[in-house]
């Protein structure tokens, strides 16, 4: 019979019992569900290995729905039980036992259908768990359709956005989007439609009461049973705290950088005004003050008073029309160096407003409500002055500002001390240069008459000896004159006052002229010239270039006492005129070569050779000013080659 086939082969578990409860038939599906095959007419009520109530309590066999049905003669349909299979697996079942009666209403047995709802149950459980997760999350979890209409709204969303579930279901998502960002929604939807997820998108949304919240948004497409995208799930996390921490970290980093740069700047600068200006600017920025000022501690007849030194954040006119802050109670702690004063609202401080003539801030003064003042104390303990900061809002300055400022103030104090020392050194150095200039001038005065008289004596033509002596004396005079001239030049170089007179002149001619003068005056060495015998016009200060050539020749002769020759070479190379003076003298070590252009440099072992060590220093300055360069080649005990080049400028150019 078809029905028989139907029952035997049905995927639904079915079985029957007789009136006393013995299992009389079961289909293959039942056996599979039970995981075993009960012995017919031997086992009672059901074929499961073990049965339980849905809450997990074991169920007595004679209390199972089938047993109850037979007992009461009534169906116990739709009840849920849990059975355990012999391999340990649990299955949840819905059971539908029904009694069967004969024509005489006598119970003959019952049949049962078992529906395996294990998967559905686990799916349900999963749903419940997920729901619980969604509901308990602090993040806003909501879903919307592709039209942007909100379909679900969790407790977290209510907490973050302020709207309840009832208020939001059916509304469009744009309710929480700030008007200026509305285009974001389009972008999100188009991404969703394309199946793309949006991950951790930092943006801003709006609370019910209108204030904005920074959130991190993750949006994923939701697919229906057919795999079509039908909406989106959104998880929004309130990142205000995160953002705040980020901003603080950024501020901190910025501050550190600023502090470091101040530190470097302070230690680099030696000018008092510059240091203070930098410090004032930086500290005003760091504290977020509207304006900051450094007042310098001085004394006047009326007692202590303070000079405005540097200002940041406001024009000088804003302060200058007022008298300087006097030693009022508010300012006293700063000017006596007692400590840092920080007030959230200066108007509320008992020390404020007690002093004539203003009893508070003079009218028209820049508005100061938040007030911060730091004394700047030198390493010797004197209060140099104070840094003052103001802001028109209450409570702008924080405790951390005090720390930072205290450290900057002490760095500044050190820098100021250094700068004072530096200024003293500079002043001394200037005095020294002034002295040298004065001394040179004074020294030249007696030299003038001396030279005049000696030359006149020379004219007198006395004995051969007399002539010889006068000659020697005049030579020494010239040496003296040259030395003094060098000293004077050096002081001018130091003071940056070496003056030049540029013009066109014939380099070739002056070289030849100088060599001739040396021929006349020098018997110890022969000076030879090599180079093109033609005019070589250059642009420079003729007198100064002559000075250099003479210096090099003098050095060549001086430092080759055992040689007889000095070689001079003049070259023209492209747009440079190069003069080289070569000697076969004591030479220079590499170490010495490095230092020769320094002022007062004298190579070791040349104490027997006269000189102050100024010549090359001045020569280098001269060549530098001509935009030329020096070339030095030397080998110890072999000789030296000193050369310089100066640019040839076109006569037309």
């Amino acid at each position: 019979m078809i029905f028989e086939q139907l029952v035997k082969e049905s995927p639904l578990a079915m079985y029957t019992c007789d009136a006393s409860g013995r299992v009389t038939f079961f289909n293959a599906a039942a056996a599979m569900l039970w995981g075993r095959e009960p012995e017919l007419l031997k086992e009672y009520w059901c074929g499961s290995w073990k049965i339980y109530y849905p809450d997990g309590r074991p169920m007595d066999l004679d209390s199972c729905p089938m047993a109850l049905t037979l007992k009461h003669g009534k169906p116990h349909v739709g009840e849920e039980i849990v059975i355990q299979q012999p391999d340990g697996e649990f299955r949840s079942l819905l059971v539908y036992p029904s009694p069967v009666f004969d024509e005489n209403k006598v119970l003959v047995g019952a049949y049962n259908t078992l529906v395996d709802i294990t998967d559905k149950k686990s799916s349900d459980e999963k749903h419940e768990i997920l729901s619980a997760i969604v509901e308990s999350s602090d993040d806003a979890i909501l879903s919307k359709g592709l039209d942007g209409v909100i379909r679900s709204w969790n407790a977290g969303a209510q907490k973050i956005f302020g709207y309840t579930e009832e208020e939001m279901i059916g509304k469009h998502i744009s309710v929480i989007i700030p008007p200026r960002l509305i285009s974001e929604e389009e972008v999100i939807i188009s991404n969703i439609k394309a199946g793309n997820k949006i991950d951790h998108f930092h943006t801003v949304r709006m609370h019910k009461d209108g204030h904005e919240i920074e959130i991190s948004l993750t949006v994923s497409p939701i697919k229906d049973a057919f795999g079509n995208i039908m909406g989106a799930s959104k998880v929004a996390r309130d990142i205000s705290e995160l953002k705040k921490a980020e901003r603080q970290a950024y501020q901190f980093a910025k501050r550190q950088t600023l502090l470091n740069s101040i530190g470097t700047a302070i230690s680099e600068k030696l000018d008092v005004k510059e240091i203070l200006q930098r410090v004032t600017d930086a500290t005003t920025e760091i504290t977020g003050a509207a304006f900051g000022a450094f007042f310098y501690n001085t004394y006047d007849e009326s007692g202590e008073s303070f000079m405005l030194f540097t200002l940041s954040g406001a024009p000088r006119e804003a302060f200058e029309k007022f008298g300087m802050p006097r030693n009022t109670a508010i300012f006293h702690p700063t000017f006596s160096g007692e400590g840092i004063v920080r007030l959230d609202d200066v108007r509320e401080d008992p020390r404020y407003g007690k002093n004539p003539p203003h009893y508070g801030m003079p009218a028209g003064h820049l508005s100061v409500v938040s007030y911060l003042a730091v004394p700047v104390i030198s390493t010797s303990g004197d209060v140099i002055g104070g840094l003052f900061f103001g802001h028109p809002e209450v409570g702008v300055f924080k405790a951390e500002h005090e720390e930072i400022l205290a450290s900057i103030a002490s760095q500044a104090a050190v820098a100021l001390d250094n700068s004072k020392l530096f200024e003293e050194v500079m002043a001394l150095s200037e005095k020294k240069d002034e002295f040298i200039a004065l001394a040179s001038h004074e020294l030249k005065t007696p030299l003038t008459s001396l030279k005049g008289y000696l030359q006149m004596l020379q004219k007198e033509k006395g004995s051969k000896m007399a002539e010889f002596f006068v000659d020697k004396s005049l030579k020494q005079l010239d040496r003296l004159g040259a030395l003094i001239g060098d000293l004077l030049d050096v002081s001018k170089v130091e003071a940056g006052q070496l003056q030049f007179n540029f013009e066109f002149f014939d380099f070739h001619k002056i070289v030849k002229d100088i060599i001739e003068t040396f021929h006349y005056n020098t018997t110890s060495h022969q000076i030879s010239f090599s180079g093109p015998e033609e005019e070589l016009i250059v642009w420079g200060d003729q007198q100064r270039i002559e000075q250099v050539i003479i210096n090099l020749l003098n050095n060549a002769i001086k430092y080759s006492p055992n040689a007889q020759e000095v070689f001079v070479e003049l070259q023209k190379k492209e747009d440079l005129a190069i003069l080289t003076v070569r000697d076969k003298g004591i030479g220079l070590t590499t170490q010495q070569q490095k230092g020769i252009f320094k002022r007062f440099f004298r190579a070791e072992g040349v104490a027997h050779i006269a000189g102050l060590g100024l010549g090359l220093y001045i020569s280098k300055e001269i060549i530098d000013r001509h935009e030329g360069s020096f070339i030095v080649k030397s080998e110890i005990r072999v000789g030296s080659e000193f050369g310089f080049s100066i640019p040839i400028k076109n006569v037309e150019g």
Binding site: S440, H441, K444, T445, P446, L447, T448, S449, L450, K451, G452, Y453, Q455, M456, L477, G481, Q499, N501, Q543
Partner: protein, 119 residues
């Protein structure tokens, strides 16, 4: 006649001897005010003026003399231990510059050169 303006006694003396050796007449002043009194009474053929003077600057005085009408044609030579020749001449229209100390032959060459121009 040469007017010499020089405050250092020794240098002044030496120059007078030198010029006299070469048969030239010279009157000397040690200050600018002395010089101005002198020149008001009579003009010289050449002025030799030091730059550093107790009551003034030779360069400024030179400028004044050359800009006014009365004395601009008198040759004027400036002297100094300090500045460099060409630069000084740029600052004011002197007819020449003598550095101190000087070679007496260079000195006389310049003096004679200026005197021959005047005549």
């Amino acid at each position: 006649m040469i007017y010499l303006v020089e405050d250092d006694r020794d240098i002044s003396e030496m120059i007078i001897i030198l010029l006299t050796e070469f048969n030239l007449d010279v009157k000397s002043s040690s200050t600018l005010s002395e010089f101005r009194r002198l020149i008001a009474k009579g003009t010289p053929d050449l002025i030799l003026m030091d730059i550093m003077l107790p009551d003034g600057n030779g360069i400024d005085e030179c400028k004044e003399l050359k800009e006014g009408d009365d004395f601009k044609n008198i040759p004027l030579l400036l002297m100094s231990a300090h500045a460099q020749s060409k630069l000084v001449v740029q600052e004011c229209p002197a007819d020449g510059f003598i550095p101190k100390p000087f070679d007496i032959y260079d000195f006389m060459a310049q003096v004679n050169n200026q005197l021959s121009k005047a005549s």
